[in-house]
């Protein structure tokens, strides 16, 4: 399954496989973690090793807050 997280990150999955991969990531936190760690590895190799540290979650929270009710 982590292979699919790796391929999703790279846009290498067949379109019909993307929803199922997102399903898997939604129901298995380990898979979701793999996606974020693989991205962190790439960003680190490009010189940015900043830990997420809730950064993404705060983005989602603001989007939810400012688009709720629409």
């Amino acid at each position: 399954m982590s292979l699919k997280a790796s391929r999703l990150l790279d846009g290498d999955l067949r379109p019909e496989d993307v929803p199922a991969t997102l399903d898997g990531m939604e129901s298995h936190s380990d898979e979701r973690d793999r996606f974020t760690i693989y991205r962190l590895i790439g960003d680190t190799l490009r010189g940015n090793s900043t830990p997420d540290d809730g950064y993404s979650k705060r983005i989602f929270d603001r989007i939810r807050r400012e688009t709720s009710g629409k």
Binding site: S2, L3, S6, R7, L8, L9, D10, G11, D12, L13, P15, V18, P19, L22, M25, E26, R32, D33, R34, F35, T36, I37, Y38, R39, L40, I41, G42, D43, T44, L45, R46, N48, S49, T50, P51, D52, D53, G54, Y55, S56, K57, R58, I59, F60, R62, I63, E66, T67
Partner: protein
């Protein structure tokens, strides 16, 4: 849309209302957007606020994206516009001078050198050291495939051609390289995992 846009399917799903697809886009690009915005704004708080603004705008206008450019090109254009508009409101944040722009960027990386967040700084350094150490322990062909993709910005097809291997082997090597490094990162990230997406 561009046939070779790696984000085409995530964008299509997000446009159809799949919030998971949009969240994957955020996870994928938030660090790069933060790095871009840190070229314009001084404080980590301002950078984070601008990053949130970028993704909020993208979320709201996603259906106007027609694929006339790569998605990340469009995303980076939005980010640049947000940073410039924030600069207009806070002219004191303009970074002028003869010093090295790269040094200025490093100084304003959110969390990396922010004196108010020493724990994040230490964590970032530990992550960088762990990734480099794990990379040096990889089988050379795995490390080469990963570096070609992540650093040299080569596509799977280009890597297959350069290394004279099948496309399927490229995706497997990159996956194996990532997974091997991820196992080294697991212990130091476990403490904050509950807070991540």
């Amino acid at each position: 849309m561009f046939d070779h846009d790696p984000d085409v399917e995530l964008v299509r799903l997000a446009q159809a209302g799949d919030s998971r697809a949009f969240e994957a886009i955020v996870v994928k690009y938030q660090r790069r957007i933060a790095r871009l915005i840190a070229r314009y704004l001084k404080s980590a708080d301002d950078v984070e606020d601008a990053v949130q603004e970028v993704f909020l705008r993208v979320y709201r206008s996603l259906n106007t994206f027609r694929g006339d450019s790569l998605f990340y090109t469009w995303l980076f254009r939005v980010a640049t516009n947000v940073a410039l508009r924030q600069l207009e409101r806070q002219p004191s944040d303009v970074l002028l001078g003869d010093d090295d722009p790269e040094e200025r960027i490093v100084g304003f990386e959110p969390g990396i050198t922010d004196a108010a967040q020493p724990e994040r700084t230490a964590m970032a350094e530990q992550i960088a050291e762990t990734v480099q150490a794990a990379l040096s322990r990889l089988l050379p062909h795995l490390a080469e495939a990963l570096m070609l993709y992540e650093v040299e910005n080569k596509s799977y097809a280009e890597i297959a051609q350069m290394l004279e291997i099948p496309l399927g082997t490229v995706r497997t090597w990159i996956y194996r390289a990532r997974e091997s490094i991820a196992k080294r990162l697991d212990p130091i990230l476990r403490s904050q995992r509950s807070e991540r997406w």
